[in-house]
Amino acid sequence: MSQPVTPRRTTRSSAGSVSDPASPSKSRPKSTPRRQLIPAAAKEEGEDERSSINVLLEALPGRRAQASDLLRLLAPAPALPLLLYGGAATGKTRALLLALRHIRPRPQRVAYAALRSLPSPRALFASLLSQLSPPPSSSASSRQRVPDKPSDFVAALRDALAGLCAQGEAVYLVFDNLEVVRSWEKGGQLLALILRLHDLLRLPQVVLVYVSSATPDAYYSMTGSVEPNHIYFPDYTVDEVRDILIRGHPNPKLYASFLSVALTPLFRVTRRVDELGAALEPLFRRYCEPLGDLEAVPDESIKRRLFEHIQPHLAVALNETFSVPMRASVDQFKDGNSGGKASTKRQFGSRDSLSTELEFHMSVSAKYLLLSAFLASRNPATLDAALFDSTGGSDNHRRKRKSSQASMNMKDTMVEEMLMKGPGTFPLERLLAIFQCITSVSEDALNDVECPDSMMNGSGMTGLMSDVLLQLSTLCNSNFLSKSRSCPLEGSARYRSNIDEDLALKVARSVSFPLSKYIYRR
């Protein structure tokens, strides 16, 4: 197996005079089945181009058109840059990397920059230059001359490339994840620079390849640079996805029968191969549970049995893929078979409302504070007086008496507006006032707070307040409240509660506080 690899390696490294100190060889010996395929192709190199293309096409299921386009557009150093685009996980990078192995004449040097794994423009410059710089210069010395400014970078890049191009070699510069740059600081400028490199360098041997999940319109509408050739990678179809997933599976028959059940519903949720793979993996484990022997080829009756076994889990998974699968692997095993039904029920029931217990510890006063923050964010400030007057929420007649139909309507629209806007902000004073009201009104709170209060008689209010401020910072730290920047008019900080009603209800239940009485609804 290693024999076919070696000649290729030597030819490569001798001809290319070693591309990169870090990676002396461009060929990737691999533990996967394709490991044999590619060297096999390499053996026949120069003899039969057709077979080489076939190998490439086999390695890229469902990407026939794109692969042949790639080979055509890459092979003799093209005059225009190339842009590969398409959704995430559609095989852009993979197709490109494989195609670069198969083109003739063989590319002597490929500099690859995955912009996602580079934290800053400087890192991008450094990485590109170090890939292009001749190996003898040790990495340390080359790193010291990392240019800061884009203009310096272009100059340095041209220097590096000019040396290589003088030898008549084609040099490929690959920019992967190009869309990431847009969110960088000063990303627009950098993006323009990267796209205009072709014009700036004016070196015909340099081939620029961009890989992006955004369409060309996103880039070329505003810059005046040359429009590149582009290749579109559409999303995979179900059959293609099935082919991809089955490849290299130890028991393809079993997996195929599993996919025939599971793939179609999941495919409606997401078409990304990586997401599907991740979602299917635990399901397949479930699917195999009743089977003793994983090597066995299932017959019809077994298939039916397995289908019945997997069906409830499938329904759960469908919902979960949508709302991010977050299953604890430990729990999964513990749940065993009983967990299936329970969790199914939970999913179909009103979300997590069945688990009424609060899952974490919080002191009672923090809970009350959280509730008052929730109320302050949820209720309009004008209703505070009605809800929290001295008699508490119990006396509603006053509110009714005061409000005519018209004013009620107005309030309704206002409340609706507030709901649409999301949680409102409130000043600290309002929060503290509500906190005091609900701790003093709630019967249970009276009972609860009695002990500490009677003990804190000496300090009275101040003792309570200093504590409350501490709790407030705790709540802010755990993201239950967010503190906005100070309001320009009032000057004091405003807060906003981020919790949803479910959590608020849970908290209220744990201190047996009648929260629903205080939430203003239309």
Binding site: D20, A22, S23, S25, K30, S31, T32, R34, T93, L97, L98, Y112, A113, A114, R116, S117, L118, P119, A123, A126, S127, R143, Q144, D176, R247, G248, D274, G277, A278, V324, M326, A328, S329, V330, E359, F360, H361, M362, S363, V364, A366, D448, V449, P452, M455, M456, G458, S459, T462, G463, S466, D467, L470, T474, L475, N477, S478, N479, F480, L503
Partner: protein, 722 residues
């Protein structure tokens, strides 16, 4: 104020220094003497001290007393240090024990994920360093991530947990880096965050921090075959964008550089969902691990420190209730519970003259220790000891040191029995979710004793759930009754387990031990006899909600009996004042601190602190010789919630000038050049400057709010009352 050197290492642990220093300035000053020397001094001076019983009274008794009191203060301080260090080490041990289980789980997870990643592909060094991704058939860009749920909204307790976790993983061969919320902030961005990651792993960080340098570092032989674990201890506080970016970046490399995340979550699993984008979430291969909940930890802590007499220090019912309420209602962290306990301990040793005797518990032969101490006890303390309320109520006739030693030993023994019985109760109740702290608070209640004695018969005969629900909370023994009830309905298997644990607990008390053994043997007999009819038995116990098994009844009776006999609250025992801290109000005021009020009080009553001659004469009137801020504060008392600046200034000026003129008048009388020179008449500007400074100082201490733009001549008072 500098911390007393003897204290520093201990107080640093819990950061309650300010309290200690503020309230015990004298002791703090004294403690600057190294304790070993103090000890020697005591040892040397004790034999030479005059026999307290001798009738001879000399004039230097006072001096002697003073010396004595200083000596005993030293002794108490030493006792505090020793006792607390014992308690502290116990606490540390307990907490570490609880965490260790989680740590091992995390380690196992890391190793499993590492082998899983390596099973996908095992890239060689050259491949790792290539800038482009590996082409594998398996699509793998998911970073193994374990979410550690800390189950406490408050984060303080978990800082040490994660630190220990890091050490544990590191000692087991993982590469480790910790990223804090401060590093994962928008300000630093993903670049800064990655740089700090490199700084923790690489010995020298290159100029440009990127993944390639990490890759080449990872390829070094000594680094290669271990996973890299990144601990993020408070996920909620991180910036979601930056973390998401980091996740995306590292996920591309996960096959080449196996980096795993351990993220601490204080609240629920919703937190990462809310924080991260769905794309970043997809890149996490997550599993959930949970830390012991705060109440579990609290139970373990209470058991180790308060129930098992680990250092001879205990707390009274009131204090226990206060601490419990403080924990559940106000703070909810173990850290503050420990610091409150420490405060209680330090207060106890600083206030209770005889508290140094607690140290005896730590000695091998405590009776010998006590006897030695009693022989040397001065008359005053001696009298005090037998005047203790707990002692005088008991029928002690002869006040001899033997009595005292016996009393103390007895006290300890009873405490120990009490602890064992309490643990038995807890063991039975834990299946019914009874918390040890709750039951502890009931068990130390001295009223319980009297109640129990009166209505125990009634209690035994008809406790049932209906009656329980009618019992008002707070009226005595809710939790104990719950335990008693619970044991009647325990399934056989659990009951057997409980009995086994009991026999372990009550080893020291032979009487109960025998009974438990007896009970156990009967169950075994019954079991073996019943094996034939086992099915029937199981069904009966399973379905029987009404009829309880006879064994359960017996166990309940035993527990009842034992509880009545041995569960004697510490406050009912003679000499308990020596080891038991009772003063809630002191503890409370120390805990709450209330700094603003203290500042105001000190400013208002500065005379009493300074004890200067000039002010004592003037009595209530404000004297100009006071500090400016103090004068201003006194003047401010005359106003309502707003103070007119002009009026305030006028009266301030008046006071300053009146003093000056007084001095001037004096200086005319005695024409000493020095005096007249020292008090030149204050210029208007000077007085204004002093006024401004004083106002600013009061603002800084939070006593008043500066004038607003709308009403520029009025300041607002914030602190009222005295």
């Amino acid at each position: 104020m500098a911390a007393p050197p003897g204290d520093a290492p201990l107080t640093a642990a819990n950061n309650i220094q300010p309290f200690f220093v503020l309230h015990k300035a004298a002791a703090a000053a004294a403690s600057s003497v190294p304790s070993s020397r103090a000890r020697r001094r005591i040892d040397a001076s004790l034999p030479s001290s005059p026999n307290p019983k001798s009738a001879k009274r000399s004039r230097d008794v006072d001096v002697q007393d003073e010396e004595d009191s200083e000596l005993y203060e030293q002794l108490r301080l030493e006792a505090f240090h020793r006792t607390w260090s014992k308690i502290q080490s116990t606490i540390d041990e307990v907490l570490r024990g609880i965490n260790l289980k989680l740590f091992d789980q995390v380690l196992q997870w890391a190793q499993e994920s590492f082998s899983a990643v390596r099973a996908i592909a095992k890239p060689c060094h050259a491949e790792v360093q290539q800038p482009y991704p590996l082409l594998t058939d398996v699509i793998c860009r998911r970073i193994p991530t374990s979410f550690v749920l800390t189950k406490n909204a408050e984060f303080v307790d978990d800082i040490t947990t994660f630190r220990d976790l890091a050490e544990h993983l590191q000692s087991n061969g993982c590469h480790l880096a910790k990223l804090s919320a401060a590093e994962l902030s928008v300000k630093h961005g993903v670049g800064g965050c990655f740089r700090s990651l490199l700084r923790q792993l690489l010995s020298d960080v290159p100029d440009v921090a990127d993944v390639y340098s990490l890759a080449s570092w990872y390829c070094e032989a000594e680094n290669y075959d271990q996973p890299i674990v990144i601990i993020i201890d408070d996920l909620e506080q991180c910036s979601g964008d930056v973390l998401g970016e980091l996740v995306m970046m590292l996920s591309e490399w996960v096959i080449k550089i196996p980096i795993f995340f351990v993220m601490g979550i204080a609240t629920t699993l919703d937190a990462p969902k809310k924080l991260l984008s769905s794309e970043a979430l997809q890149r996490l291969d997550s599993c959930k691990l949970t830390l012991g909940s705060p109440s579990d930890r609290m139970n373990a802590l209470v058991e180790a420190v308060l129930v098992k007499p680990c250092a001879g220090f205990c707390i009274s019912h009131e204090v226990a209730t206060f601490l419990r309420n403080y924990f559940f209602r106000h703070d909810g962290t173990i850290t503050s519970f420990i610091s409150a306990l420490k405060l209680a301990c330090s207060k106890h040793f600083s206030m209770e003259p005889l508290s140094f005797l607690c140290m005896g518990v730590l000695e091998e032969d405590c009776e010998e220790f006590w006897r030695g101490k009693f022989e040397a006890l001065p008359q005053v303390i001696w009298k005090y000891a037998f005047g203790l309320p707990s002692c005088s109520s008991a029928k002690n006739s002869s006040n001899s040191s033997n009595d005292m030693v016996k009393g103390l030993s007895n006290l300890l023994k009873l405490q120990k029995d009490w602890g064992s019985v309490l643990l038995c109760l807890y063991e039975a109740g834990r299946h019914d979710k009874v918390q040890l702290l709750d039951i502890f608070c009931e068990a130390v209640n001295p009223d319980l004793r009297t109640q129990n004695a009166s209505n125990s018969d009634l209690f035994v005969s008809k406790v049932n759930s209906e009656k329980l629900s009618g019992v008002k909370p707070g009226s005595g023994d809710v939790f104990m009754a719950q335990v008693m009830n619970a044991i009647r309905y325990l399934p056989m298997k659990t009951l057997l387990h409980v009995l086994e644990v009991w026999s372990n607990y009550v080893k020291g008390i032979s009487e109960i031990n025998e009974k438990v053994k007896e009970l156990q043997s009967t169950t075994i007999d019954a079991d073996s006899a019943r094996t034939a009819k086992e099915k029937w038995t199981r069904r009966s116990t399973g379905s029987a909600g009404n009829g309880t098994a006879p064994l359960n009844e017996k166990a309940a009776m035993l527990l009842q009996d034992v509880t009545r006999k041995y569960l004697v609250p510490v406050e009912c025992l003679p000499f308990h004042e020596i080891i038991c801290f009772k003063n809630v109000s002191v503890l409370q005021s120390a805990l709450i601190g209330n700094p603003r009020r203290m500042v105001q009080l000190d400013l208002l009553k500065s005379q009493s602190h300074l004890k200067c001659s000039c002010c004592s004469r003037s009595g209530t009137a404000v004297s100009g010789s006071l500090h400016d801020t103090s004068i201003m504060c006194n003047l401010a008392q005359e106003y309502g919630d707003v103070i007119n600046l002009h009026d305030w200034y006028i009266s301030f000026e008046g006071i300053i000038n009146s003093t000056n003129s007084k001095v001037k008048r004096k200086s005319y009388g005695s024409p000493s050049k020095k005096k007249s020179k020292s008090t030149p008449p204050e210029s208007e500007a000077m007085i204004q400057a002093r006024f401004c400074r004083a106002v600013t100082e009061m603002q800084i201490t939070g006593l008043l709010r500066m004038p607003s733009k709308r009403r520029p001549d009025l300041v607002q008072r914030i602190a009222f009352g005295s």
